[in-house]
Symmetry: C4
Subunit: 239 residues, 4 copies
């Protein structure tokens, strides 16, 4: 509120810069994840142009069911990434430089997932080496995402960026749950040496397992006290 | 506000996790729908490369009018999906895990619509089997969207996620209206066995019918009492 | 707050549905425009694959300068569309069904602009008929956008969706300014019959002309009274 | 609140139009940057179709490592652009017409980065002239972004669009820091005349250097006084 000479009266100075909440980084992450999801649909669901002219739709659909399977499984994985991001960031109250950088690196892996999924679905019919290599690239992108997501959560916890009202014991059990996920992905990947399709189905099973409610998930519905300052009383289900 | 030892004083604990409003899931859904719409434009409106060199623009436009028609109709359908999402979610006050999952599966079908629309427009000139199969895939994506949208609405209603000020009778008539829509889409699809172009036009008619105001739609304009606490009085139209 | 029987006490009923502000429709429109802009970059700036192998980068750049020009001009036009949307919607306080539909149709034309710009840049070297036809499709998308944008503004004005504090005389002069723009675009299009490159440059000139401040534009900077309730006094520029 | 006749009582008139905060322009910029990042992944990570059929995945990966490197470096550069945008715009309290235009031109360069990165990675194996020319186009897009970003910041500073609580001395040192960045990019580009891969690594080094905390960056974590009006006291790290 003062001219340049009256520096001490400015609130935002070199030693007390403005902090920022998480609205913009969440919106940006959403945009990257949303575009990755939709581009993946376009990439994966595009039929192989080779032989397009001489075969009919029925036989092409029979050839392309692997692409449909890869689409569903990759959508499930990326959907789970979004869900976890959505749930974990509700406890983050402000960001610092390092948290943003870790989040950006995480998004770099998310943005690479459509490519790796496409590779995977293309090589499910290839040689054993091709199958295993493309599955390794696929799980690499997923593990890279999980690694930097975990690093971001750990950083936020240990640098006072989380809501001070968050019980540290809850934060600790959330951390443990987040850490187990990449290990399970490695397990699903290992199945590729037995059968690549079975490996994909194992990913799907994993995503399903994580839907069982655990620490860090959203509370169940019902008009709860904390939000209206009164007992939920007579507002039961209405259908 | 207390150290780890004073757990009970933390507001967010394992048994009382923070809930979350709908801002982020709405923004994320918007991003997926917006990207799907725009990618669809790029995909559908891309001329077939075959024979690009030897024909002029006039004759190619004559060949490609089906793509334009498919673009307009698919934009109308996806536009209506957005409109319904926009209107229904204004009554949702908070989300739980299952509502987010149902919304993600709905988005999986939305993201697949550009591909199915492209298939449809490519095969409108194909054999009868090709036409009917691509129309079935198209309506499959639309029905999948409608199914999971309806499931999400039903879940929100029956688990106390809607605004408690919403009259249950209004919620019930909104539900009925949402349920009829997929049935009408099936009808439009059935016409493909008569004529595929007629079937597309039936979709367009359906979207138009749903613009007639019904339960769940936005109220008409005018500065209404509820928002300013005073009669709308002298604020009539001004043009 | 009451059970289904006590209907009259619910605030949102069949005859008094909840209204909605403009936050979500603005964010959705932004997403569509942003994706269109970025896809346009990818489409337009992609070199023609024909002859890719046998020519070097220098000669290909010389061939592709039309694509760069088309990119800059289309970015300018779509950028102006966003700017006008951004400025006009700050006066809109709530939406109704029809305003959303008009906005969606406007976005349908915006999403088609990357395709039309690509066509235009491809046919700048074609026959006269090709040039004029692709320029007509291009201006058609731009005019369609302008038409439905104008209809939306007119609808908002005449149905009480604008801020009641907006001076009707200002609203009227904004309307006149918005109406002139499509007429000028038609003029720029007509120049294609003289020279297609000249026509593109005329579009660029038009966008530049609209940067001259007129009714509906944002006010100039400086800490103004209306926002802080005090004279701007000693807060001059600080560089 | 009055009819057209009572003009003076309207708050928003021709000479006192409504101003607007930065929420929408930030969200729009985020969307463009997010799409550019994700499209870049799809473009860069797409294997060259030539020879796709006759070579296996291993040998193709060996050929394509340049694309991976270009992806990581371009993601780092665009990530830094987002980070700088995120940090600098927290001090902007309102926008005027010119700031929006400068921001749009900046986005035009950002949207062109996927194309230039693709060109660069394609020509890393080409002739010396091809390498240097594609590196020049690449750095041109990055420098164009930096130029218009700096112009926008300068405009906001000199036209009273920044938070009045921002110490002008902080604003000045932020400006100096922003100005040095493009000069360093030029340095990294110059290395292309020695070795193109080395030049890319120099970009990566530059991004890393800018992660060292300087003026304009976010403050470090910890529950700070300014946000809660109380000493941070007993809220240390909790892991």
């Amino acid at each position: 509120m003062a001219q340049a000479g009256g520096g001490p009266r400015h609130r935002f100075r070199r030693d007390s810069e403005m902090s920022r909440d998480t609205v913009r980084v969440e919106a940006f992450s959403d945009a990257v994840i949303a575009v990755a999801l939709t581009l993946m649909a376009v990439e994966l669901l595009q039929f192989n142009p080779s032989g397009a002219a001489d075969t009919d739709l029925v036989s092409r659909l029979q050839q392309e069911w692997r692409a449909f399977l890869a689409y569903i499984i990759t959508f499930a994985i990326v959907g789970q990434i979004w869900l976890t991001h959505h749930n974990s960031w509700r406890y983050v109250v402000r960001v610092d430089q390092m948290l943003l950088v870790l989040n950006l690196i995480m998004l770099m892996f998310v943005a690479a997932i459509p490519f790796t999924a496409n590779q995977l679905s293309d090589h499910l019919r290839g040689s054993d080496v091709d199958q295993q290599l493309s599955a390794a690239i696929y799980v690499g992108a997923v593990l890279g995402e999980a690694l930097f997501f975990n690093l971001g959560w750990w950083w936020a916890r240990s640098h006072g960026l989380l809501n001070p009202d968050l019980d540290p014991r809850l934060a600790a059990s959330v951390s443990r749950r987040y850490l187990v996920r990449p290990l399970l992905y490695l397990l699903a990947f290992a199945i590729v040496f037995v059968n690549p399709i079975l490996s994909l189905l194992a990913y799907l099973l994993l995503v399903a397992i994580y839907l069982v409610r655990g620490p860090g998930d959203l509370p169940p519905g019902g008009y709860e006290k904390s939000e209206r300052g009164e007992p939920s009383g007579d507002h039961g289900p209405e259908n």
